[in-house]
Symmetry: C2
Subunit: 133 residues, 2 copies
């Protein structure tokens, strides 16, 4: 199971619908757990308690960038992606491997959609469907 | 006026609503012109005829990446951004300056949303609002 831990809720209905559509297409292989916006440090403790010793990737603007193919090579079935809230991620989360979706900053809601789409794309790359061609 | 020329239509209602919301917030400073999916070469001719000698930036995965701040420095009021269709952009469009939103590939619909949000973010950076802080 791939777990995405994200701070806060997605308020834009359009983005939420699309995220849910991708999750549905991935048939339970990916779950999203939302952590309440509690301030960076408390969020960090809560997030780490939800990682259960699994491989953690923190989504962070300072992280390494990958192409979709390179990203797909990094995905295995049991890992956790973390997306921070408006304050960003705490140091105990950021000490893990960090990946940047882009050098640009965008909204946390769009980051969540973007990540879910890339994970869906990974499955399609691995299956060899025309989605990524 | 900033013009975005994009190939094809946005079918995901959620993405379309959000794009329209950003356009509305920018109060007529940004317009989107859609070109029909006619194949790369014909699209390229049509796109160039809509650029009217203005500065052109082609959105392309092979382009240069910028942070949101660097991107905002590149924006002035009278220019054209081009987003290709599933086949990508023709050579006569790609010979212009190229910018990549990310090293990752994502859907053309999401590219359009992402670009519109970055242009909105540019206005907010220039105004110094808290949107980008």
């Amino acid at each position: 199971m791939i777990r995405i831990i994200a701070v806060g809720k997605v308020k834009e209905k359009g983005i939420l619908d699309l995220i849910n559509e991708y999750l549905k297409r991935m048939q339970g292989k990916v779950e999203i757990i939302e952590v309440r916006d509690l301030g960076k440090e408390k969020e960090g403790e809560k997030i780490m308690s939800l990682c259960e010793g699994k491989k953690i990737i923190a989504m962070d603007e300072t992280g390494k960038e990958y192409t979709s193919e390179e990203f797909s090579d990094k995905i295995d079935g049991d890992m956790v992606f973390v997306i921070g809230g408006p304050e960003g991620l705490s140091d105990n989360v950021k000490k893990n491997e960090k990946i940047a979706l882009s050098r640009m900053t965008f909204t946390h809601e769009m980051a969540r959609l973007f990540l879910v789409e890339q994970i869906y794309r990974t499955f399609q790359i691995k299956k060899g469907t025309k989605y990524h061609k």
